[in-house]
């Protein structure tokens, strides 16, 4: 029979959304529910002198106003450090600012009212007296001796530092025929999920149970966080993540506001809803990136990469995010540098600096776009220095497809990747020779086009090596409960969660194949700690690789259980039986008994079964990756752009990607993960930037001013696949959620710089705005006229 793994099954749960029947946290209304609004610091740094809530308390509809002394006592502080990041510091954080405000938007008071509008009315009447202080906005300045502290509770402004190096890196540079250098700046951007963060905390004092409806990727993590920080037993805490309107890593961090909603519900014994508005999202959701990287690369005369050296400064806000920390991205940046290449030597330095801005932390493709952009910009410069074609220099340096396993200079263990096959495939898709010819003729008409490519490696399927070893209570395993219903239909409750990427669909496909049914007969439940087993859930590309394998193994255990039962019922050796088309078949393929019949007997007539036989048709299975500490996928992207050199505007004409995510469970969903990922890479490459002024004020806190990628500006994206399954699992899937984001910006920057090459101009900062492009063109012009 046809396997469902590998088929482009459509998503059953998409039908609800298409009919307007999505169920998001922000759609939910509970009896006696109160609405929370936070009063926030208007300044980036200062000392609270007074918060006068008297006038606000008298507003119609207001039930309660909390400031730190009444609210923070309900919650133990959280500290965003990890044990394996030696020497890392981050001061404890609690719900409301106590004495110091640390970023613009730092919550200082919480208002609970019958309606959101009434709470906002009251918020306008809260009188804040904050003595402002000089904020720390520049990470480099923050690390100089004697710099003022961004966070007075910290030792200094250095959150964390690390060095990673091989023995011979200096010698490699000394002996190199070519050394190319770059200095690059990666702007802050943020997730801008269309549904903002939303939570309803509902504490029932009569039962002592806390139920939190929470738009998150990681309900089990929050079950643990809420239990520990509010002193509740884990069994009394239920976290339900219904439909989630986008997450991308942003909704798995602990935020002041969600903790505040829980604390307020515990105190008031009523449901408390907090839904961020768009400005609050910009002010309080984690931001991403904000790195300044200096890098250089040593090559021999024929263009072989000998070594890289990079220095990454990342600026993370006034505290490190909890529980994953704000240092993990920088850590990943310095480890992913040069990853696709056969590069023997390397030195990477990381400095993580505090500053008075909202925290940065994990967002889709953590660290990848930076490591990729720096590496690929250096490879591009190396190609210029050695007069090699961009494809040729990569062909010479990519790790050969037959050279695995391979350990990178930064210590990553690659099981099996396919860089060369991807490069060849991309060459075929792009036809660079034809593009070159076309571009040369267009230049004569004043049209300046360019293309760029970028190879990448993506980290997926993390085991405990990511966070668990550092002491964080973030599950490295996932769990599934698979059961056959009396009708013979199958149900799977699993810990990986759905935010629209198709988790439930692929789990149904995987389980269906183990049990010989169609995916339509498999229903899947996710996102509720009370009805699904505990696990890591969805982050760092583990849904398909780890979740899928968990479902597969659980399904196989149920299959064995069913076959044992069937053997007894049809008087056959279970080993001679298998499941197909909803029935148990024998070696000849003849159906012996249907699943429906087995379900009927096991449920309603267990008395007719042989004594002592196990007729429970539910199995639970938990799986954690062993072997490699994480998997790696790989691929390559290409970008084609046209630069208007008079206005600095760029049209993105086309994007290509060849990707190897291992076993493809559902090609339709994989391709759409890639497309969405690419656009999340192109957004910050050209448009997205959280702009701050020198006083630490965010100056573009709306969707009119923060430019997200929209339909007219984004290109069609052509996708091809190489399929190299991992041998670590039976399923062989590696994950695909971050591949698109990893290299899109790097390819685009190389493309812009290709278009600008005849002008001698080069972009080294994202986003590549018209102003920066015009500045680069002017700088090149000045350099030419004034050598």
């Amino acid at each position: 029979m046809t396997l469902h793994i590998g088929q482009s099954a459509r998503r059953e749960n998409a039908r609800r959304h298409l009919a307007g029947r999505g169920r998001f946290v922000s759609d939910l209304t509970l009896p006696r529910m109160l609405h929370a609004v936070f009063v926030r610091s208007p300044m980036a740094r200062g000392r609270i002198l007074e918060i006068d809530t008297s006038e606000a308390s008298a507003c119609p509809g207001v039930v309660r106003i909390f400031t730190a002394p009444e609210l923070n006592v309900r919650c133990t502080p959280w500290v965003g450090t990890l044990g394996h990041f030696a020497g890392m510091q981050s001061p404890p954080m609690n719900i409301l600012a106590e004495e110091e405000v640390l970023w613009t938007g730092h919550p200082v008071a919480m208002i609970l009212a019958r309606s959101r509008a009434e709470a906002e009315d009251a918020a306008e009447l809260v009188m804040l007296d904050i003595e402002d202080a000089e904020p720390v906005t520049d990470g480099a300045a923050a690390l100089r001796p004697g710099a003022p502290l961004a966070n007075p509770a910290a030792r200094d402004n250095l959150c964390y530092e690390a060095v990673l190096e091989t023995a011979d890196v200096d010698a490699a540079f000394v002996g190199a025929a070519h050394v190319v250098e770059t200095s690059m700046t990666f702007g802050r951007h943020t997730a801008v999920t269309l549904e903002p963060r939303a939570v309803i905390a509902d504490f029932d004092a009569s039962s002592g149970a806390l139920t939190v409806h929470h738009g998150t990727q990681t309900p089990y993590q929050f079950q643990d966080v809420y239990a520990r920080h509010f002193g509740l037993s884990e069994g009394k805490v239920r976290v339900i993540a219904p439909d989630v309107g986008g997450s991308f890593g942003m909704k798995l961090h602990v935020y002041n506001e969600e903790m505040g909603a829980v604390a307020a519900s515990l105190i008031l014994g009523r449901p408390v809803r907090y839904v961020a508005d768009r400005l609050e999202s910009f002010l309080s959701d984690i931001h991403a990136r904000d790195h300044i990287v200096k890098g250089r690369m040593a090559l021999d005369a024929d263009g072989t990469i000998l070594a890289m050296e990079v220095d990454d400064l990342t600026q993370v806000g006034a505290v490190s995010a909890y529980p994953r920390t704000s240092a993990a991205e920088g850590n990943q940046v310095i480890r992913l540098m040069g990853a696709p290449y056969r590069m023997p030597d390397y030195r990477g330095r990381l400095s993580v600096a505090f500053q008075n801005k909202v925290q940065t932390s994990q967002y889709r493709a953590v660290g990848h776009p930076i490591a990729c952009a720096v590496t690929e910009a250096l490879v591009e410069r190396a190609a210029e220095a050695t007069e090699l074609d961009p494809f040729e220099i990569r062909a010479r340096n990519l790790i050969a497809d037959d050279a695995y396993p391979h350990v990178s200079a930064t210590g990553y263990q690659f099981e099996k990747l396919s860089h060369q096959a991807c490069l060849a495939k991309l060459h075929e898709m792009m036809d660079p020779e034809a593009l070159r010819a076309e571009h040369a003729s267009l230049r004569k008409q004043g049209i300046h086009r360019g293309f760029g490519i970028a190879s990448f490696v993506e980290i997926t399927n993390p085991g405990a090596a990511f966070y668990g070893v550092g002491g964080a209570r973030i599950s490295a395993q996932d769990g599934a409960v698979v059961r056959m219903m009396p009708s013979g239909d199958i149900h799977c409750a699993i810990s990986v969660t759905e935010q629209g990427q198709g988790t439930e669909t692929i789990i149904a496909q995987v389980v269906a194949d183990q049990l010989g049914v169609t995916p339509e007969r498999v229903s899947v439940t996710t996102g509720d700690t009370a009805t699904t087993p505990s696990g890591g859930a969805t982050w760092a590309c583990r849904g398909a690789g780890i979740g899928g394998e968990t479902a597969l193994r659980a399904g196989r255990r149920l299959r064995d259980r069913i076959l044992t039962l069937a053997g007894a019922l049809v008087q056959a050796d279970p080993a001679s039986l298998r499941l197909e088309n909803g029935a148990v078949v024998d070696g000849s393929g003849a159906a012996r008994i249907t699943l429906e019949e087995i379900g009927r007997i096991a449920t309603y007539r267990p008395d007719t079964l042989p004594d002592g036989i196990d007729h429970s048709l539910t199995v639970a299975h938990h799986f954690a990756p062993t072997g490699y500490p994480f998997d790696f996928t790989n691929g390559i992207q290409g970008s084609l752009v046209e630069v208007d050199v008079e206005t600095g505007l760029v049209r993105i004409l086309k994007h290509w990607i060849v990707e190897d995510c291992g076993r493809i469970i559902n090609p339709l969903l994989v391709d759409e993960q890639i497309r969405g990922g690419v656009v999340q890479g192109l957004g910050p490459a050209f448009f997205e930037e959280c702009q701050y002024d020198a006083d630490g004020q965010l100056t573009n806190g709306s969707l009119a001013d923060y430019l997200v990628p929209m339909a007219c500006e984004m290109p069609d994206i052509e996708i091809a696949h190489i399929e190299t399954p991992t041998g670590d699992t039976i399923l062989g899937a590696k994950g695909v959620g971050e591949a698109g984001t990893a290299a899109a910006g790097a390819a685009a920057m190389n493309a812009v710089n290709d278009a600008l090459r005849p002008f001698g101009a080069r972009l080294t900062q994202t986003p590549m705005t018209p102003l920066r492009i015009l500045d680069a063109l002017d700088a090149a012009r000045e350099e030419r006229t004034d050598p």
Binding site: R10, G22, D27, L194, D277, R675, G676, A704
Partner: protein
């Protein structure tokens, strides 16, 4: 002070007391229970809250409920019940032109209006019609494909049958 609002929502005559400051979006979501209309930016920039007002897509976050007096309002729930957009919804489903589903309502409204005005849009025209609809998940291409395929279907140029037609 509340106002008595008389309007038609998804074909039903509705009379409700509303506060002037209640947006049409909140009236639909909170008072009518029509939560398929989503809110993403509260300023007309994201398109998640589009509804058809007298047949044309408008931002329900920028219209006060009291301004809907005497109007007909159709939401995603209404379009679903009448089947007016069934082929479009089926093409979105086929093409996986949605992920988290939060923008989908607005995308369908824009697409429905575009196809009514221009039955044979180019890909650029489709993208232009979606210029005010933000989607963080898909990268837009699948949405453009789904709308183009619906236009094809409606013009009888269908190569592949949609599920709705089956």
């Amino acid at each position: 002070m509340k106002h008595l609002l008389s309007t038609t929502v998804n074909g039903e005559q509705v009379q409700e007391a509303v506060s002037p400051r209640t947006s049409l979006a909140d009236f639909l979501r909170e008072d009518m229970g029509l939560t398929g209309t989503h809110l993403g930016c509260e300023m007309g920039a994201c398109g998640a809250c589009l509804v058809l007002m007298d047949g044309a897509p408008v931002h329900a976050c920028l219209v006060l409920a009291v301004q809907a007096e005497g109007c007909t309002v159709e939401t995603i729930e209404g379009l679903t019940e009448t089947g007016a957009a069934a082929d479009l919804q089926a093409r979105f489903h086929d093409r996986n032109a949605l992920q988290c589903g939060y923008c989908t309502n607005g995308m369908l409204m824009s697409a429905q209006a575009l196809l009514a005005a221009n039955p044979d849009p180019s890909r650029d025209e489709i993208r232009d019609a979606l210029s005010g609809n933000y989607c963080r998940c898909t990268g837009y291409e699948a949405i453009v494909d789904a709308i183009a395929a619906t236009a094809s279907d409606r013009a009888g140029r269908s190569e592949t049958k949609t599920e709705a037609a089956q």
